[in-house]
Symmetry: C2
Subunit: 146 residues, 2 copies
């Protein structure tokens, strides 16, 4: 049993219809639309949009789920042109621009947008990692430790 894994990310949202519309306007296709949650099938994991109050109740921390927290969710692409296209599409869909795509100090390039609830997405090109067409990434073996 491999224990390190990420099977699903759930984003708590204030208005489920607004959030669903945002991701669909950004070009995503939902897999299932239930009463209080919307599922998107991603590259081997699932992203869910879920009522903020129900997320809070489910996590048993009703007062602790406001805000967007110290999390970045990244989408990697092969080229800066793809990142630019996805960035512009996000703004057109109603995202808030945090940082326009450009060279990053780690040697790749990236930009940041926030979704309607402030969840932060990074759109990146990382020339050091292997990227599959579905967005799956693999860190090459034999990297030096610093």
């Amino acid at each position: 049993m491999t224990v390190q894994r990420l099977s699903m990310v759930t984003l708590g949202v204030a208005d489920l219809a607004r959030s669903r519309d945002f991701y669909e306007s950004w070009g995503w296709e939902k897999r299932q639309d239930a009463q209080n949650i919307v599922f998107f099938q991603l590259n081997g994991l699932v992203l869910g949009l879920f009522s903020l109050t129900m997320l809070a109740a489910d996590q048993a921390r009703p007062d602790a789920v406001l805000g967007t927290g110290a999390v970045t969710l990244a989408q990697n692409y092969a080229t800066e042109a793809e990142v630019d296209e996805r960035f512009d599409a996000a703004l057109s869909a109603g995202a808030v621009e945090l940082k326009r795509p450009g060279a990053a100090p780690w040697g790749g390039s990236s930009g940041y947008v926030a979704d309607p609830d402030g969840h932060v997405w990074e759109l990146a090109v990382n020339p050091f990692w292997d990227l599959a067409s579905d967005g799956s990434v693999s860190i090459p073996d034999h990297l030096p430790e610093s």
Copy 2:
């Protein structure tokens, strides 16, 4: 180009060594340990632990990344016994218990723990989704809309 994807999740942490030790104590094996970030290779995506202040600077929202936010990160397993084992291992590694594993209203079962910075992990069994051994999940086709 499939646009819906999650390539990396980065968690902002107050003390990188403390967080790395927590995940390693939980049984994870790091892929790369750099000066300000630690990478774990997951099922087709990467999880990074990153200095909170550097994350804030990178996202260009220096005052907005405190707290844990409205996000759940889920690890799915095939059996409740595996969830219980992983849950107890998390507590032994220093996690905070939020909710002990048990039956969930959606028909599966799950529990919640928080890592040293409060990032919330759900440990779940979802009998309705296909689960690969590496934690990758797939939502079956042909689900009804509610």
